[in-house]
Amino acid sequence: MSQIENEKVLVVPGQEIGDLSHRPGMGTYASDGKIYASQLGIVNERSGYINVQPFAGKYLPRQGDSVIGIVKDIGPNSWFVNINCPYNSMLHGNETQWKVDYGTTSQYLNVGDVILAKINHVDEIKRVNLTMKEHGLRKLSSGQIMTVDHTKVPRVIGKGGSMISILKENTGCRIFIGQNGVIWIDGELEGIAKASQAINIIDKNAQIQGLTEKIREFLGVYEAEEVDTALPLVEEPEAAPSPENEEPEHQDF
């Protein structure tokens, strides 16, 4: 299936995408000696694996991911947090920087509060535990939050963090993108409005070519600025564009 290496092939579930000379990767399954797509998306091949990069789907929590969550319920020594995935996650009092005594949880976090957290552990039946112990993980107390499909997160970050740099520089906002697709923006009202509109454009047009140009245009950046991709300005504990998170190439077809 060498043509797949060069072209962007759009596939639907059930479509044959290779044989067992490759290993079945994400978004695929193997059956009868062949590999088939299990999700709607674009085929890619990486280190012997054949994958389908899906266009949509629910975020599945992974250990080490940085996420933004909303507190939805409180227990005597823990909180239940909605992290925009099929499962509730739990944040135990011991996993915070506070000294939380039994029965005093609501003094620290209440229902509706928004937190920046990291996924500490996911067990085999997808019970999720969060932590807020690391530096920078905290309660978010101003700004705006919005949600995009988590499959679009790499596009919002951009290659080497290029897209998010453009957004930050041209709106004057602090932006944090959770791996779960929840995004926090803080700054002047006007800047927040602009940044969220730009993110909506990315969300709607994640599949198109020249998205960066479109966003530059929207933000009124006409001169093709040099963006220092090697040293992205990270003032927050950024959802670091980890390798699997990075935009592979242009997703056009």
């Binding site: 579930p13 399954y29 099929p86």
Partner: protein, 252 residues
């Protein structure tokens, strides 16, 4: 009073009441991703059937006691809008809708890779906005497109259609009067990738030979519907491409 049994379902030229040949589908149009809130959705126009399917999930199971620690459960709710039939339909669940919901869920459960989402629920809602016979098949056809649109991993899409018998002759994609006045009805859903039958019902009267032929007829048609389903999903991400339906063929 006209005696309805005297209506001829197949005319002297071998054509049906709506002008179709015995093995011809009605025009089918599918559009993927039509609703904003749902995780996945699809709209199908199939003859005069108008059906919308929405998928939420995988998400938390409601009610919680249905939760399975090994896999996702698939819950389907099939419903007819109050204005979808000839007479107004009293809102709320009934035995027919409950049965269709159950067999549709079972058909989808076979193709969805539920093991990837333990303790969760995939909720499918099928709303029939206008009914014109064959709503369970059209509903399942739309629902499987909606599941794929939601990005839920699955083995294949699930096309579905009914074959039947009218005026003693085998007919594909049974129409309204053929359903009411015909001699047999056989709704079937087929997984083209694996060759499996995942929904099968029948009522009426078939000989053994007729049944075999009716099943083959439905399976062949499912392969045709499968192409329209695939096209609907691809078209969502390639807006410039033209609509691929079976109407071009139907006109020939």
């Amino acid at each position: 009073m006209i005696c309805l049994t005297e209506i001829k379902l197949i005319d002297d030229d071998g054509l049906r009441l709506d002008g179709r040949k015995p093995d011809e589908l009605r025009p089918i149009k599918i559009e993927a991703g039509v609703l904003d809130n749902a995780d996945g959705s699809a709209y199908v126009e199939w003859g005069n059937n108008k059906i919308i399917a929405a998928v939420y999930g995988p998400r938390e199971v409601q009610p919680k006691y249905l939760q399975d620690t090994a896999k996702a459960i698939v819950q389907v709710s099939y419903n007819m809008a109050a204005f979808a039939g000839d007479d107004r339909i009293r809102p709320g669940p009934n035995r027919r809708a409950t049965e269709i919901s159950k067999i549709t869920a079972e058909a989808l459960e076979r193709v969805i890779l539920t093991g990837q989402y333990p303790r969760s629920s995939i909720d499918v809602y099928i709303e029939v906005l206008e009914a014109d016979a064959g709503t369970r098949c059209a509903g399942l056809t739309a629902a499987s497109v909606a599941v794929a649109d939601a990005g839920i991993p699955m083995i294949d899409l699930v096309p579905s259609v009914a074959a039947g018998k009218a005026d003693g002759q085998l007919v594909l994609d049974v129409g309204k009067l053929e359903d009411n006045k015909g001699q047999a009805d056989l709704p079937l859903a087929y997984v083209p990738r694996t060759g499996e039958i995942v929904l099968l019902q029948m009522d009426g009267h078939f000989t053994r030979k007729e049944l075999e032929m009716a099943m083959k007829m439905a399976i062949d048609a499912c392969k045709e519907i499968h192409v329209i389903q695939q096209d609907a999903l691809k078209r969502k991400y390639t807006p410039q491409s033209s609509v691929n339906t079976n109407e071009q063929e139907a006109e020939q």
